[in-house]
């Protein structure tokens, strides 16, 4: 949507935006005075019909959507641009990182990745630093993250091996109950101990974090140096994703005249190729016109490298697509509740994975010139359509069947799936049971997921956290993402999902994300 003067005026007058939020929105409006990246009429028509969607990233992208700087390299070498020598001790490392975050661009205006903080800080934590000192220093750092970068998409990762820093971070999470940072724990079948997982599960009980990711599967697909950032997008460290576009499978099916096989044979491949056209146009603007990879200090200092970047091909509305296609065959089974429907869902995702693997994109050497497939977790504007490959809110089957339905999709989505499982308070009495579910899920090939507990103050909207008490405070919440959460709560009734639930989201034309 092209910017109109009244949009600018509305942003300036909007009382619920902070100064910084206004600047962010106004920048988006300025960008949208320009024409969108040039695409052909068929792609334009599909974009206007929202069959394909550019996530409202803006008409002239001037930075990659998700950037994962190599913080370890920066700490080790220092930075000429930041005028910082290599960090020599823990204090210097913490200050270095805060400075670097403030100079790291992203789609949200805040960094989406803070680094794997336990791995980054462990070299600076020796025996001379006792537990109390470590706690005090990390506590101030943790508070700084939440207050300086108040956006729930800002994300850190914890390594698979339990260590002093990871333990202290989980402890601080339970103490401070902050929205920021979002956290993912890399779970390895042997490196990650039960003691560590129990500590993490107890933290989930307190504030819904961390998210759990399958370290072996991620390393297989992305290499050793990867991280989950923002709303559970797994990408390469020192790289990232230029853009995230998404295909609305429900709309794709609705746009098709004909039977199921002809959708697979004709309409689906066309829509996938139109996605490719849209993504190509956007990537070219970032790389060839905005000169991000020539001009950014991160690129100049080797902290991000173009050859570690790719783009993300998102899909959503799988549930509706399956159910509509079942109807067309005169079948009544639905996704998550019927073997035939589930089998159809696997046929859809594997077909898309195949098509995407044959879709060349420019400047995507980070994945051999192809996009990473992503199960896109929704945005707050989505109505009557289910996030990614999830089962619709409120109709989720019992946990075992839920896991068995969504699990087979996970291996296809190298850049993340993020199913969300909502548990009742019974889990609190038996955290070992949650550890069993985590281990079982990863052993059976799931990639990543999150638990929500209905008794704490935190709710995961599309993957990012919002405090229920903050939702009640609107207007005037401090975190940008809380506004997105409010939209999602209104539009998709996420607060109503029966214990054990699902939903997600990412960006909004309104808030300029």
């Amino acid at each position: 949507m092209r910017t109109r003067p009244e949009d600018v005026l509305a942003a300036i007058r909007e009382p619920k935006y902070s100064y910084r939020q206004k600047v962010q929105v106004l920048a988006g409006l300025a960008e949208n005075l320009l024409d969108e990246p040039e695409i052909g009429p068929a792609a334009k028509a599909a974009l206007d019909a929202r069959i394909i969607c550019d996530m409202y990233e803006g008409h002239a992208p001037y930075r990659a959507r998700y950037i994962l700087p190599d913080y370890a390299l920066a700490l080790r070498n220092g930075s000429a641009h930041l005028e910082l020598p290599p960090a020599a001790d823990l204090d210097e490392a913490l200050a270095f990182l805060l400075i670097m975050y403030s100079a790291t661009p992203s789609i949200t205006g805040f960094p989406v990745y803070f680094g794997d903080l336990d791995t980054l800080l462990l070299p600076y934590v020796d025996d001379a630093i006792d537990d109390e000192t470590l706690h005090r220093k990390l506590r101030l750092f943790w508070i700084s993250l939440d207050r300086m970068f108040p956006d729930a998409f800002a994300h850190t990762n914890l390594s698979p091996t339990y260590n002093r820093v990871a333990r202290t971070i989980l402890q601080l999470e339970r103490e401070l109950l902050q929205v920021v940072p979002n956290i993912s724990l890399k779970v390895h079948p042997t490196l990650t101990s039960d003691e560590y997982l129990l500590d993490a599960v107890q933290t989930v009980f307190a504030n819904g974090k961390p998210h759990f990711i399958n370290d072996e599967l991620m390393q297989h697909d992305l290499g050793e140096r990867y991280a989950a950032v923002s709303c559970y997008n797994s990408l390469k460290i020192g790289g990232g994703s230029h853009t995230l576009s998404r295909l609305n499978l429900k709309q794709s099916v609705l746009a098709h005249v004909g039977d199921v096989d002809s959708w697979f044979a004709t309409t689906l491949p066309v829509h996938v190729s139109l996605m490719g056209e849209l993504m190509t146009a956007r990537i070219r603007v970032i790389v060839e016109q905005s000169h991000f990879f020539d001009a950014s200090w991160l690129a100049q200092e080797g902290l991000v490298r173009l050859d570690r970047f790719s783009a993300m091909f998102g899909i959503f509305g799988l549930a509706e697509a399956v159910n509509l296609l079942m109807e067309r065959q005169g079948r009544s089974g639905t996704y998550g509740h019927d073997e035939e429907a589930d089998a159809l869902s696997y046929r859809i995702t594997s077909s898309i994975a195949h098509l995407v693997s044959e879709l060349p994109l420019p400047y995507c050497e980070g994945n051999s010139g192809r996009a990473f497939l992503h199960s896109q977790s929704g945005i707050d504007l989505d109505l009557d359509v289910t996030a990614g490959t999830r089962i619709p809110i409120g109709s989720e089957p019992p946990l075992l069947q839920h896991l068995r339905t969504v699990g087979p999709h996970h291996r296809l989505f190298a850049s993340g799936v993020s199913d969300i499982l909502h548990f009742d308070d019974m889990a609190v009495g038996n955290p070992e049971a949650i550890v069993d579910v985590i281990r079982g899920a990863f052993a059976s090939g799931m990639r990543d997921f999150t638990f929500n507990l209905n008794s704490n103050d935190f709710i995961r909207i599309t993957g990012y956290m919002v405090r229920k008490s903050d939702l009640a405070k609107l207007p005037a919440a401090r975190h940008s993402s809380t506004y997105l959460g409010a939209g999602s709560v209104e539009n998709s009734h996420v607060t109503e999902r029966a214990p054990k639930r699902v939903v997600s989201h990412e960006s909004s034309p309104v808030a300029g994300h």
Binding site: G429, N430, V437
Partner: protein, 239 residues
């Protein structure tokens, strides 16, 4: 032995309240107590139209579907030990088969089983959750239709051989949850094992028959009081 059948009322692929970790639980039909407070009274008769005859392979098929998310299987009921022959065969098969042998085997019981039954079960059973409805024998008789001598023997015996995972106290307000009753019960349990794991199950009227359906449930304050008394009496592992 796989041709052996047992009467199963129901099962859950996952349970978080029937032993350590995430488990599959089987509810066997038939109970040797007739507890007033039973919230599944349809499981009490030895036969029921709702119950189905399951073979060991029927059970293992369900177990296979729950793997790898579970760390074990729990036999509950009804009263699982009434089907002890089936259980010996089932658990024996689980322990002997490499596909299943990593799973732990637990029994949820009212303890009204003879020593010989335990001796048959224990070689293939990792732990038992045992209910002590009330310590006083006469009251026990009132509540369940039977005395509790055998249940108390079972607690002592299972604790002595290291197979008692936890003792469960089903507390009904005004009936068996006075401070004095709880102190006496705690003292009796801790004399057997000072580190005994004790779990409180508060009475719920839902599903019970008359007259229990009209009994009061404990409010939050009373629950807190029950906990405090047991903790004060020296119970260290209170769930």
């Amino acid at each position: 032995m796989s041709h052996r059948l047992s009467l199963v009322t129901d099962f859950l692929p996952f349970t978080w309240v029937d032993g350590p970790g995430n488990r599959l639980v089987l509810f066997f039909q038939g109970c040797n107590f007739d507890c007033k407070a039973c919230h599944n009274p349809h499981t009490i008769p030895l036969e029921s139209v709702q119950a189905k005859r399951w073979s060991i392979d029927d059970v293992l098929e369900r177990v296979r579907a729950s793997m790898p998310f579970i760390r074990g299987i729990t036999a509950s009921g009804g009263e699982a030990t009434l089907q002890w022959e089936f259980l010996v065969a089932l658990f024996g098969r689980i322990k002997a088969d490499p596909e299943f042998s990593h799973l732990s085997t637990f029994i949820d019981s009212n303890g009204h089983a003879e020593r010989a039954v335990w001796d048959a079960l224990l070689p293939v059973t990792d732990g038992v959750m045992l209910d002590l409805k009330v310590l006083d024998d006469a009251q026990h008789r009132q509540l369940t239709g039977h005395g509790n001598a055998r249940s108390r023997d079972s607690i002592r015996y299972l604790a002595a051989v290291g197979k008692l995972y936890e003792t469960r106290l089903m507390l009904v307000p005004g009936l068996n949850d006075s401070d004095e009753q709880l102190r006496t019960t705690a003292a009796w349990l801790l004399a057997i094992d000072p580190l005994m794991r004790v779990k409180i199950n508060h009475f719920h009227a839902h599903g019970t028959r008359s007259p229990a359906s009209a009994w009061a449930e404990a409010d939050a304050m009373r629950r807190e009081r029950n906990r405090a008394v047991l903790l004060d009496a020296g119970v260290q592992y209170l769930c």
